[in-house]
């Protein structure tokens, strides 16, 4: 009865309903527009000042244009001065300077230095360039170790350092073939056996941006909803309806239970719509939608009770407003409801996972990833029910003996 009353009142307040439903959907659509549906990677700009212009320097540049590096970089060739200026202005991730004589030096196994200028504002993309160059240097070292003599002979026949005569190329080809035959016993079949084991992932190895934001956004909506619905206690108090209820044969706990039920119905609807849209936008399977929605609903019930308890502890409505905001905003910021844990510093993410919403969000992600252990879920559910029951009893007591009078 009390729940029906509150649901009717909410129906008459379409602005609040639209905000609760609209905000998460709007933010998710925004995420979709910004980051796309699936896994998206940041793409950087790699500038190359190729002062050598040789076949080998071309191979180095080509290495960054191959998959999968091509997903991360847009490679552009520029003059060194111009390129340095671009990096200084933060318009590129890194600048690779290939000095004149690079190709000749590699072929003759002479020392040569590649220079990498990185953008200090970026860490990941310049790091990838650095790692790739290290691999290339290692590759050149092993090539020299295996076929150094042949390469040196070939380079000695080169005219002008880079143009090879046909006879030299043919002789080198025969030598490379011979080396290949001698290594065949090692390479085909390989002496090293690679055993591959597929393990069930504890969490998805790579998560799309939209997918990472969806659960947090749903919880953001649920927290705002819980805040709005718990503040209704002050409106009821101001109208005198709480006091009037106390004069009826029913207990105040039944009124609170009605409010809780109404909050759960609205939370279910908001979660279903927001999660449904979110999973679709993120391109994730819809199979865990109902269990995830139920989890969100019970989590929202806990948020409602905890925030109600805070509201009931305040001396007046203004203090309650300040108190609830003081609790809510750190919860939103740390608890993964605005920024996913993945983009937070590890220490803050650890703290955030301990907040009520951070804890519930971690379980929701496990549900969505299909990585949930039924026993652990049951224990988690029991813990949630226990905390919610304690909050309910405290809130009902406070309501009866202090707040409603």
């Amino acid at each position: 009865m009390a729940a029906v009353k509150d649901l009717r009142r909410l129906r008459r307040d379409p602005v609040s309903l639209a905000l609760w439903l609209g905000v998460p959907v709007f933010v998710l659509l925004l995420m979709y527009a910004l980051f796309g549906r699936g896994e998206t990677r940041p793409q950087g700009r790699l500038l190359v000042a190729d002062e050598d212009g040789s076949f080998l320097s071309g191979l180095v540049v080509q290495a960054f244009r191959q998959e999968p590096l091509a997903d991360f970089f847009r490679v552009e060739k520029l003059a060194q001065d111009q390129a340095r200026q671009q990096v200084r202005r933060g318009r590129a991730s890194a600048l690779l300077i290939i000095p004149k004589g690079f190709g000749r030096a590699v072929l003759r196994n002479e020392p040569v230095q590649l220079t990498l200028v990185t953008n200090p504002a970026q860490r990941i993309l310049p790091g990838i360039v650095q790692e790739t160059l290290s691999l290339l240097v290692d590759g050149a070292f092993y090539l020299q170790a295996v076929a150094g003599d042949e390469i040196r002979k070939l380079s000695e026949t080169a005219e002008g350092g880079t143009d090879f005569p046909e006879a030299g190329v043919a002789a080198a080809s025969i030598e490379f073939y011979r080396i290949g035959r001698s290594l065949a016993g090692w390479l085909s079949p390989p002496r090293l056996k690679l055993e591959t084991q597929v393990l069930a992932p504890a969490s998805p190895a790579r998560r799309g941006f939209a997918a990472a934001y969806v659960p947090g956004m749903v919880f953001l909506a649920l927290l705002f909803l819980a805040m709005g619905l718990s503040a209704d206690l002050w409106r009821e108090r101001a109208r005198g309806t709480l006091r009037r209820w106390l004069a009826t044969p029913r207990s105040i706990a039944s009124l609170l239970a009605g409010k809780l039920l109404a909050a759960m119905v609205v939370s279910f609807a908001v979660s279903l719509i927001a999660l449904g849209c979110g999973l679709w936008i993120a391109g994730l399977p819809l199979a865990p939608l109902i269990p995830a929605t139920l989890w969100c609903t019970f989590s929202a019930a806990l948020f409602f009770l905890l925030l109600s308890l805070l509201q009931l502890c305040a001396a007046n409505e203004r203090t309650a407003h300040v108190l609830v905001n003081l609790a809510l905003f750190p919860m939103i910021l740390l608890g993964g409801s605005l920024f996913p844990f993945e983009v937070m510093p590890a220490s803050l993410a650890r703290i955030g996972r301990l907040t009520p919403n951070g804890w519930a969000l971690t379980r929701l992600r496990e549900l969505l990833d299909g990585a949930v252990d039924p026993m652990r879920l049951a224990l988690t559910g029991a813990l949630l029910a226990l905390v919610a029951a304690a909050a309910f009893l405290l809130a009902a007591r406070r309501l009866r003996y202090r707040f409603a009078l």
């Binding site: 009717r8 008459r12 005198g240 009826t248 044969p249 409603a404």
Partner: protein
């Protein structure tokens, strides 16, 4: 029936109700008359089970409120001082909610809602949200929510505050109808006229203490034939008590530099003497008002202050 015995309720050091006792019988309207803050709402709160008394006993239809609160509240209808309604719901939905809170369901509830709306003259506004109602309409609906379940005991806490005269008249008529049907009514007010015209018996309460109670006639008799003489002007330096001491039966209720309030037996005849004595003592009288005995006179006589102070 309501039975209140030696009721005491305090909030910290402030004693809101102190040793208040009274009974209200079925079909009777008992008025609790007193200024704001006198302890009327606290008394109602203790009867309705909202507040736990420090001392004393309250019984509603034989059920002690402290021990059998649920049963006692089952017999109660409360019309609070605030318009305790959900403004975003319609009149019908409000009635349904409060009727449901008192255990009404289904056909019985629908029938009572129809009757109540008819009774308060809001049948044409049943489905309109309450926020669009006038103050008088809200007050009538507030009243209907308290009587929907036909309680044998009705607690009315200043139900006509801030209501236009027409709506007030209708509300008082509704209260009389309830009493006429055998309901035991406790009505608090600080309006003297309302108490005089409505209540069968009255209790006058001030600073948490019941200073007098009885029927209207009985209370008037307590004042006797004493009139109330109100004088305004300049009384600085006038030793009123000395000047008026020799006048038999005259009592000074209030006296300051600009006003004087006297309780005078046989006022019309004694007035010239009083004025002459004061004038001779140097007082400058600009206005005098002589009032016949009333509840106000009684209140002033008993407390030394006016009801609306």
């Amino acid at each position: 029936m309501i039975e209140v015995e030696h009721l005491r309720k305090s909030y910290g050091d402030v004693v809101a109700v102190d040793d208040v006792s009274f009974t209200v019988s079925p079909g009777e309207i008992f008025g609790l008359l007193g200024p704001n803050g006198a302890g009327k709402t606290t008394t109602i709160g203790c009867i309705a089970g909202l507040l736990m008394p420090d001392r004393g006993r309250v019984r509603v239809m034989g059920h002690e409120v402290r021990k059998k609160g649920g049963q006692a509240r089952g017999h109660l209808g409360l019309v609070p001082q605030d318009v305790a309604l959900y403004e975003d719901l319609s009149a019908e939905e409000n009635l349904a909610f409060w009727g449901g809170a008192h255990g009404l369901r289904g056909v019985a509830l629908r029938e009572r809602i129809r009757e109540a709306l008819e009774l308060i003259g809001l049948e044409d506004h049943a489905r309109r949200p309450v926020k669009g109602f006038s103050g008088g309409m809200k007050r009538r609906l507030n009243f209907a929510c308290g009587i929907l379940h036909r309680p044998p005991v009705l607690l009315l806490d200043e139900p006509a505050v801030g209501v236009d005269p027409q709506s007030r008249a209708r509300l008082l008529e509704l209260v009389r109808e309830q009493a006429g049907s055998g309901v035991c009514v406790l009505y608090t007010t600080h309006y003297m006229e309302e108490a005089q015209s409505l209540c069968d018996r009255l209790g006058i309460i001030d600073h948490g203490r019941m200073i007098a109670q009885g029927t209207l006639q009985g209370l008037r008799a307590m004042v006797g034939q004493r009139d109330l003489l109100r004088l305004s002007g300049r009384f600085a330096g006038v030793r009123a008590r000395e000047v008026l001491a020799s006048l038999d039966g005259l009592e000074i209720l209030q006296a300051d530099e600009t006003q004087m309030l006297l309780s005078v037996p046989d006022g019309p005849h004694r007035l010239p003497v009083v004025l002459a004595r004061l004038a001779a003592a140097g007082a400058e009288i600009r206005e005098s008002t002589l009032t016949q005995p009333s509840l106000e006179t009684l209140f002033l006589t008993l407390t030394g202050k006016e009801l609306r102070e």
